[in-house]
Amino acid sequence: MKAWLPALLRLAILALLVVFITSPNWFEPLLKPLTENGAPAIYNQGSLLTLTLQHLRTVLVATVAATIVAVALAILVTRPAGAEFLPLSRSLVNIGQTFPPVAVLALAVPAVGFGEKPTLIALFLYGLLPIFENALTALTTLPGNVMEAARGAGMTGLQRLVKVELPLSAPVILGGIRLSVVIGLATATIGSTVAAKTLGEVIIAGLISNNLAFVLQGGLIVAALAVLIYDGLSAIERYAARRMGQEAE
């Protein structure tokens, strides 16, 4: 495969996505065969553009919060003062990963009510784990000679953290963020079962009214977003790894 082909493909997907969410009616003839009894082919209970932006905003807010908390926690448990918490935090992360997203979402409702809040909580909790795990792996497997050199150069603990450990860990931490964004994009659709405004609304409307066109457009928009964001973050990751002189995987 030529090197420019994947890039071109991604650009095409992006262009198609933008055109679809801004003027979905152009695609009506394509989706019409999927509907029955003259049902509308394009989601008509809200604008796809607004829903997409709200979907992205929910994921963004949750991921930023999860990144800050997860990286801070990982830094804490890898300092001498927090070393006691390291084994426990490992097993907590393991246990946390067994909680299904739907259960987290449903259990958050009694505490905070319906709407965007339970979705944000579920996305936040679910996003924490991959980022924390990756940050922990990165910070505990730094090359010993580099750390020794930093110490030998007279760097303080804080300087080592900011100038050596974090930059070296950045690619792996970014990998965790990428994973949690992709999980978040898909999980946010489930948020619509508790009345959050996300693209899941389109899919669920389709499931309820037996309208395959709705299910397809909602699902494809989320999938396209996920593929594009996944690729974008992978590229940033490779860039960060190159800057650190590491081999990109």
Binding site: L88, Q97, F99, P100, A106, I190, L199, I203, I204, V215
Partner: protein
Amino acid sequence: MTPRFDKLGVVIAAIVAYAALAAPFATFRANRIVPGQARSILEALPSPLGILLLAIVIAGGMVALLRTPFVLRLATGIVGLVALAILIGVAGGFLTPDGNTFARIAPASGFWLLIFAFALLLADVLTRLSLSPLARIGILAVAALAIGALLASGLWDSLSILKEYSNRADSFWAEASKHVTLALGSLAAAVVVGVPLGILCHRVERLRDGVLNVLNIIQTIPSIALFGLLIAPLGWVALHVPGAAAIGIRGIGTAPAFVALFLYSLLPVVANTVVGLAGVPRAANDAARGMGMTDRQRLLDVEFPLAFPVILTGIRIVLVQNIGLATIAALIGGGGFGVFVFQGIGQTAMDLVLLGAVPTVALAFAAAIILDAIIEMTSTKRRTDSE
């Protein structure tokens, strides 16, 4: 901070103090959907027991806070959890007015926080003990037996979640078996297809990127959409392929849920098979070739056993993921615990949500512990074998 305090203990003691003194222990509701009234520990229990529980949790907080011996911390964690589990049942009976079948008593935030605090203490002790895999499964079995005994004793019967259960006992077990069948069945199918596919991808390099890319893209499709999208093709199959409808293939229901879970399961299984086979040391392969083993013998006797722990890790990921995802099958009529979750969300009856969510979490949790233990056993066995 003086060194005599345990750092984790400070966190645990703070949670215990807040949960025991400030947060409600149980919630009383006149019926299943009205907002509840909070009851503290002393209000929720007959007075000697209330004071006893307060004493237990405060003593537990102190044990956690100070640097205390291992055995004492272990015992404290167990005593705390057992006392909470028994006394929440007593509180249910105590708060329910005589002969009133509409009132609902549910554990409140204070109870859950206390459980969390003592579980944290126990988890910390167990983690530091670094138990053998068999011991971990043993502890899981003991915990399951204890919970089973409590359920069978009827002590918890006055709690709201079990009232929801008693109204739906039959459908609960039917949905439970559907849930397990969906999760395990799709896993089995994914292993049967995924492992050979992984071996093929390992042998034929040109296939590898293509197959893994397609499987990656499937993972990005949100689960509710994939479930929905499979309705149409399966409906078509049911109508046009003779015999398909007879074996249960239908547009809605279990069939699309099964296929969707199967598709999601493929990536971890295939990817881990490829990674596991790629990680087989070259020396082992060379030695096998040198001994005159055929390709097939090499695969079965050398490569596959060496790659097995990694493949098992893939299976663990899939099983835990499937148990969670199977809840979504309820949205397309596929059954499973999700039925209660979504019914509960629809009726704003949170006890019903819990009836679906708690068994799902418990199943996923147990599956993770058991498979982690098996993975550890197979990988240590391999290490000692090769020595």
